[in-house]
Symmetry: C2
Subunit: 304 residues, 2 copies
């Protein structure tokens, strides 16, 4: 008999977030791990162990959904590109299904977060919506015409690598002036260093909340750049809502305020007047909740 509970896993580049979740999206048990590992076997062991911890605590679960920061080959259930994790060309879905003895569903982590926010969160009832998760880098998800958009190969919504300054700073991707080169935890720490502050992004955020003038300026500038990027997306997609998640949410309206102002300057009517730019409803757990929703959807699809 089905328990009605599933496991959602958000497999980030640095941390692993696991939750046992019921059909009403209540999170019953959580397990956290560092996702860093020296090799494939170690990372897989860590995942299996964390999933087992959550499922043991939950009693019984019916399936597991994974959000992975990678292009996913849905046909074969593997991660095609993983910058931060040693999972490339690993038959992830089949391997996890075998080790866990449960049905396994896999998708891109930002797509999973978009799914959670669209179905149950900040983008509910929208026909057109976008999501940016901004942490170490930027992930993206999109809803167009009332359906998740993935592009021809599942590689769409790479909003972090949108050029906003053609002669701007070099991005790790090899291009110049990508949004991600201006707007990320990495960029915030770099800009702070350039101002003589040897701090992490989290420390800059804390100082900004405390009213520290330089930190405030850095965050405002980052928000303005974010707004230029979101403005481009508003003009291209005409969405009802743009949802912002990830580590930068700690900055709250210190970041989103300047972003909204820049969107008002750069996006065209009527799109700019319609769009709302809001934080994720599920906070840092959008990806985990979305992975669980994926698993619930997958079970429904396979039993009907």
């Amino acid at each position: 008999m089905a328990s009605g509970r599933v496991i959602g896993v958000d497999l980030g580049g640095t941390k692993l977030l696991v939750g046992a979740i019921d059909g009403n999206l209540n999170v019953h048990h959580r397990a956290h791990r560092s996702a860093r590992g020296s090799g494939t076997a170690e990372v897989l062991d860590t995942i299996v162990e964390a999933v087992r911890e959550a499922s043991d605590a939950a009693g019984e679960v019916d399936a597991v959904g994974f959000g992975i920061p990678s292009l996913i080959d849905q046909e074969q259930g593997l991660a095609v590109t993983t910058v931060h994790l040693p999972l490339r060309d690993v038959p992830f879905r089949d391997l996890m299904a075998e080790r866990l003895g449960l049905p396994v569903f896999v998708d891109n982590d930002a797509t999973a977060a978009m799914l959670a926010e669209w179905r149950f969160g900040a983008a509910i009832d929208c026909t057109d919506a976008l999501l940016l998760t901004i942490g170490t880098g930027i992930g993206g998800g999109m809803v167009v015409n009332g359906a998740l958009g993935r592009g021809a190969q599942g590689a769409a919504a790479e909003f972090g690598h949108m050029t906003i300054d053609i002669d701007g700073p070099l991005c790790p991707c090899g291009a110049h002036g990508c949004l991600e080169a201006f707007v990320s935890g990495t960029a915030l720490a770099r800009e702070a260093r350039a101002m003589g502050l040897d701090l992490t992004a989290a420390q800059v955020a804390e100082l900004a909340h405390d009213g520290h003038a330089v930190a405030r300026t850095l965050v405002t500038e980052m928000g303005t750049r974010l707004g230029a990027g979101i403005g481009n997306l508003v003009n291209a997609f005409n969405p009802q809502v743009v949802v912002v998640g990830g580590g930068v949410l700690a900055l709250g309206d210190l970041l989103l305020g300047p972003a909204r102002e820049e969107v008002a300057r750069r996006a065209l009517p009527p799109s700019r007047d319609l769009v709302r730019i809001v934080p994720t409803r599920f906070g840092a757990e959008s990806g985990m909740v979305g992975a669980a929703v994926m698993a619930l959807d997958g079970l429904t699809a396979s039993t009907t």
Copy 2:
């Protein structure tokens, strides 16, 4: 009895292109007019007269489709924003239906061009495709998940107002560094003037084809900027094809060559390896053909 022929009208900011088209997309009769007029009545009279010329020559027609460079309110059949034409808040669809005595269908001109290229042209069989028509300004159309994308208000695909240079030149829209401020007939003539050449965009194109060094440089630079913009769209949409139309097609591969090279530099794999960047199949007539396809579709929908 239905004739199987319809009229397609591409109502540009400066010229009007009318064609009588059959179900196999053969163009039987064309009528051209200048669309400039001092007022609403004059523009409407010109349109009616040109449509009648084409329909009289075609014998009998069943409907008329219009592509208009404006946001269209489909509910009311009117042009919500027209920068170049005095048609704002005119009940265009009903007015034309009454004066022409035929069913009338209205949509955005770039959306109409996208429809023609997607159904019968350069983007045939694509699930995800984009179109940019580049002339005086830039119009855009999009196909996502195998359907035309319009956004929440029909205002999507405004690709001309994508910031590619956050501190770049002022665009007429009020923002800085929009793609359209770099890539358009207007921009090409402006850049030529800055180099001491007092020429129209068409004259620069001619010189570039003749191998004129400065003209070649100007066109290559414009192609590179276009490539940065298309690269952003490739990362966001992961399309099989990006179709380029409009007056700049006169530049051919002098423009599209550098654009393709810049896309290869700025877009991410696997999107950049999949995407083809190609001219419109229907050349300057994509919008007109698309308007006719719209009318054919509209008739089919209303009789089934």
